[in-house]
Subunit: 131 residues, 4 copies
Amino acid sequence: MVSIKITTGGNRAIYQQVVDQIRSAIAAEKLTVGQSLPSVRGLAEQLAVNHNTIAKAYAELVRDGTLESRPGRGMFVCQKRNVLSAAERRRRTQQAVDVFLAEMLALDLAPEQIREVIEAKLNGFAVAQKS
Amino acid sequence: MVSIKITTGGNRAIYQQVVDQIRSAIAAEKLTVGQSLPSVRGLAEQLAVNHNTIAKAYAELVRDGTLESRPGRGMFVCQKRNVLSAAERRRRTQQAVDVFLAEMLALDLAPEQIREVIEAKLNGFAVAQKS
Amino acid sequence: MVSIKITTGGNRAIYQQVVDQIRSAIAAEKLTVGQSLPSVRGLAEQLAVNHNTIAKAYAELVRDGTLESRPGRGMFVCQKRNVLSAAERRRRTQQAVDVFLAEMLALDLAPEQIREVIEAKLNGFAVAQKS
Amino acid sequence: MVSIKITTGGNRAIYQQVVDQIRSAIAAEKLTVGQSLPSVRGLAEQLAVNHNTIAKAYAELVRDGTLESRPGRGMFVCQKRNVLSAAERRRRTQQAVDVFLAEMLALDLAPEQIREVIEAKLNGFAVAQKS
DNA sequence: GTGGTCTAGACCACA
DNA sequence: GTGGTCTAGACCACA
């Protein structure tokens, strides 16, 4: 059972939060290849959000090869294949780094502090993977 | 003279790109305290966008203490002061890190690769500051 | 339902009047945490102003932590958090007092009269909070 | 000799700051009836601002009966007469109090704190009047 | 000339 | 339906 938590007030859309957290759960091996996910309606009810929102999140994960839909049986974690070209991945990576560092700059964090906050989160992933 | 470049079609709003790039220019000391910025309408024309879009970008920078507006004379870089509370800065830092790492995860980057792309950019800043 | 009244011709911008009155309504507990606000376009129509003007007012209230925007659902009163640093709050307080007393001086009010007009309004707040 | 200090960055126009400070100087009896003021050009040079700005400030003070212009000889402090109707003064007073308290509300100051900051400034006036 | 505000109208993403 | 962004064009106060 995946535990997903939605927070309001951030400027992150709900469907994006669902996508992010399912990806995190897989990275942390809380979800493994072949495992099934809650149905669209089930998860929508559990999170008290519109079911279109969950459908949109699942669709995005299917599109990028993280999940696969087995019609009539539900959604399953599948062997991740790379859908994006190397150039596209590079472009998106650079874009994300630029946006992130712009925010850090706005908050006036020194490079050393930026490294620290990143490491703190990365360590969280590593621990999760071992447990 | 600040050189600002806008790309449309991405998901970053134009006014946000202007904000980011002015902050970067100040961090890289291409703009220094007391220096004036291009006029709202001048920059709008140069970037071929509406003046309201530039006004919105400048307004955000005034709000966070990066620029000051001298009525009738223009916008000037000002001595940055700490406008936000420590708690608010922490909150925004955490949120930015979460969003950034979610994106890295989506692109399937390993922790070591994430460190590399961050360091590459941070070194860019350091060089800019020394030159 | 919040009742907002706009006067034009004064030197207070429309969007500022909206901001002020929503803050007052919250202080007077006519609006409470979690409650939703009229939609941007709804309030714009009600006040017979452009929707951008209301959007600007709401954006300011989101920025200072008074409201939160839930994408696709609307604007909600949120638990107020301290966004500004102590130094910034002091700076703004001093500036507001200076401007206010300059105006009182211009109108030739004696210190005792200034205290009276302030107290009259403060009592108004207190009553509103109790009822 | 009046000592006037201009600060940039606030949203108070320069001419307004000049007006405010001349009124304060009179209230604190640093300027008394019949005393002369620096010439428009002299004060403009001293403050390093445009002379139109000073001319505008003086014009406002003449309009409200604080100063009088004796052509060829300069500007003089004169016996203040009340130019505004009682109703107009009340209206402006209320407006100023509303704007001030809205700002205090935005900064989340309690009534007691508002009284304190007001009194601190009023005491400054009282002392000035005695010295 | 400078920035600030406002209208009218459009298009987009999200729920 | 909701808010967010953008354009085009206007008018205002200030220096």
